[in-house]
Amino acid sequence: MKSELKFDSLLIHGGSEPGPAGATSVPIVQSSSFAYPTAQGLEDVFRGRAIGQVYTRIGNPTTEALEKRLALLEGGGTAIATASGMAAITTAVMTVVRCGDEILASSSLFGGTFSLFRDTLSNYGITTTFVDPLDLEAVAAAINDRTRLLFVETVGNPKLDVPDIPALADIAHAAGIPIMVDSTVTSPYLATGARLKADILAYSTSKYINGTGTTIGGAIVDRGVFDWNSPKFPHFEAFHKKYRQFAFTARVRKLVHKDLGACPAPLNSFLLTEGVQTLALRMERHCSNALTLARFLAAHPKVAWVSYPGLEDSPHHEVAKKLYGTRFGGLLTFGTGDKPSAFKVIDNLAMARNLANIGDAKTLVIHPASTICADYCAEDKALMGVTEDLIRVSVGIEDPQDIVEDFTRALEAV
């Protein structure tokens, strides 16, 4: 579905239809299933002859309103909302690959996705090769005749490397495989799927889309641009025959999402339609606050190093500028030399919260090596860019002066 509205207006109005009694917010349809007056009416929906809801695991009016908006935000296509970001990635990946297939993935993936690929999908005959997404030649060389998917993140979390996604898309397309992009860290506000040349997006809506840390959710967006009519994808043949450019969406909806059942609760879909409306305003503030804090930390004598793509001396600055303009996201990492000093900083922060999440209005910190990445061996941690002194900061939208003062006080304890 295309729309004439610009991005910031789509955040508020995209896919909206008038609600009951003129309601302007999306109605929460808290119903498991949907009744039809005639047997024929329900048969028509099951056969795909008519549009209608059947059962909330498969579809729900509140969730559909969210899905329409998310698809519009990526520059068109279709969207499927899921219970979490990991549910979106699992569902989307299992739609593409089968036993015996291979995934080529970025080596700087978020830990949950890394674990899904290496430790879970490997049990089902799906193997993953991890490659440095900044090394385009290595990526091209790692594609073999069993590779069926290139999976990358717009910004590695917590490595904060910034791959050239459109260049990676060209490599995937030259090999006849789709590129799936997790854009959780950047959100469609920094770059749409269309701009990134992503075929499919699979991301968490729990972070910047939601914005206030109230809701777990995820989404799959099919831009309808990849040609699934290929001998590499015989399992898409029937879907392509019937649904052509939206063969992927049809296979997700009619098979994998329906079977895995990782559907969102209607209340969560509602909260996401509320949260997403302020995405543009929030992202501007996240980005400007992160740049302020990164510059402050870079100049601080007790800080050993800072990683933020917005800093001009960052090795990722040029690619980030090319893809995302003047905005570099709300995530930064820094180190104070060792784990004890990192713990001291975290323990002495008064406003920033120590927890496992990003993309909240509140400033958040975590020590990944001892928490979200604790289960990984030293070699894996190195691959993910996780050092013992690394503190990840998800910079919130508070007054920037309060954020800087919070870190100033905390660093005094080191």
Binding site: F46, R49, A50, G52, I58, F239, K242, R253, K254
Partner: protein
């Protein structure tokens, strides 16, 4: 003229210029961008919507991937 749309016999005004594309508009079919059209048993490519004329006796199915059933 009469055609069969989604299993129902439907009377249409005589219009020799009518194509699948104009029929979708005429009937105000939901989600025109995503609908799959099966024309006399064959799935049409989206690019064929504008060039496929509709004649008396044709059988047309509009199919969606939104619903609950398996394809």
């Amino acid at each position: 003229m009469k055609v069969t749309i989604n299993g129902k016999e439907t009377a249409l005004s005589e219009n020799p210029a009518r194509t699948i594309d104009s029929l979708l508009e005429e009937l105000d079919v939901n989600q025109r961008l995503y609908v799959t059209v099966e024309f006399n048993g064959e799935v049409l490519d989206r690019t064929e919507h504008e060039t496929t004329p509709v004649a008396d006796g044709d059988t047309i199915e509009f199919l969606y991937f939104m619903g609950g059933g398996r394809s």
